[in-house]
Amino acid sequence: MNLIQPMPLSVSKRWQILLLETQTELLKTFRSPAFVIPSLAFPVMFYVFFGLLFNAMGGHAGNAAKYMMATYAVFGAIGPALFSFGADVASDKDKGILSLKLVSPMPVSSYFAARIFTAQLFALIIILSLFALGALFGDVVMTRGQWVLTLVTVLAGTLPFCAIGLFIGLTVSAKAAPAIVNIVYLPMAFFSGLWVPIQLFPTSMEMLANVFPAYHLAQLALAIQGNHSGAPWYVHVGALVAYTAVFLALSVKQFQRIDNRH
């Protein structure tokens, strides 16, 4: 018979939960190579083909490699955010893992924070790989401040994609989620000018790109190196904040509708 009284979780206890939750999430992710290899290899591979090899053939060395380093960093960083939330949350929801956690005393915030950390760690690895390739093989030259600012901007810029992924994960079934995420992710990447510079598109498509949050994040990253087109930075930040707010609100609504009776 235990007579221990319940007590609210202390800050250090919450921190410990968050760390363990993140660690477990990372272990699970790194143990599934079917996710790790494509999400790390694709942005790097694409960058080598389009950013570095084409760049070597073109005129002024360095600039295209620099431009594409920013856009492929965005491409690489938003993938894990969309999948970690979209596909994994959908799977946790369908399997009843989320329900079990919700009836346990786990703080809900630590579940989501752990996912954000996991997605951002992946993003960090991808961004740093692209930086290394760009600097070593693409003659990319930027000031130290520009490198750091690009890294911070793209990392922070994964948040709206976490929110979009979360909404998808809470809305569709685990089976459909990876497909839906890809349907959102890949066309958005293309139409936002992450693969091919947006200036090569017809004007109408350039206008269309404004619809996508990935375009705004790419423009922010490009503005740091002076390669942006059009709107000032605060318009892009505003668009990204608005996307985050809208999808968080939608997610809260979906979250309350989860069928907990697993």
């Binding site: 221990i4 319940p6 363990l20 699970k28 599934s32 399997k95 009836v103 005393p105």
Partner: protein
Amino acid sequence: MQTSQHTLVSVRQLSKYFGKETALDAINLTIHANEVVALLGENGAGKTTTISTLLGQLRPDVGEVLVFNHKPGHWAAKQQMGVMLQSAALPDNVTVIEQLRLFASYYPNSLPLDYVLKTALLTDLTNRKVQTLSGGQKQRLLFAMAIIGNPRLVILDEPTVGLDATARREFWTCIRTLAANGTSVLLTTHYLEEADALSDRIVVLSKGRVVAEGIPADIKARLGGKCIRFRSTHAIANIESLLPDVQVQRRGDYIELISATPEAHLYALLASGGNVQDLTVTGISLEDAFLHLTQTPHTNIQTIQEKSA
């Protein structure tokens, strides 16, 4: 009379509706310290709905539910409870010990991992990945996750569904170890045998109502009997006086009775010298037993209905 300190769960007049369908109809349920209670009922009887309400996943439409004197879903209630949800699965690519360590972190006074592994018969599987475990082993890991927080009450929603006989026995061992240490258990099942083997008290649910409640021996006597069926020239009243402790019914040409002690009743019946023809003795399914319980106004049922009225 138990003090409130010893009342872990108190459900009063709980009703829940899904659209026009009545899922729960004025349920009363109390769980005390050191008690194993089985909620026995068929699929759709309202077992999981009751559990969901206790966990705060569903709100009661009518009635009052208190868990450790808190509203369901309150953090203080969650900390004192461990839960195994029906058909909850486990994530892939984590080991048994990693999953347990994670759940242990959620509770302020979690039990030592070694102890929990031993109680759940998982000691040899500590470093196995979850996806390599058998069905029974997975259920025992979910059980271990339910007890890791050193709870005063463990809720197990159909923990042995889909397990083979051996795995089920192993799971029973785990529950008995837990109960022996003074933890209260609320267990749902649709096996009378399981409720009988594990619980101190059985609450029978049928179509959202509590139709019987009592110690396993009583419930088993009423649910676990045999159906004796025959044709006879005896009048019903005669048979009733011959066998005073059973319900006798006429079904068309036949006389039918459900008996907990069929041998004794048959002996009395045949020894009476009366005309008995076309005699059959068959086991009754839980479903028949429920029908019998819900149709025949039994004294115990009446008291329950009066209490809830």
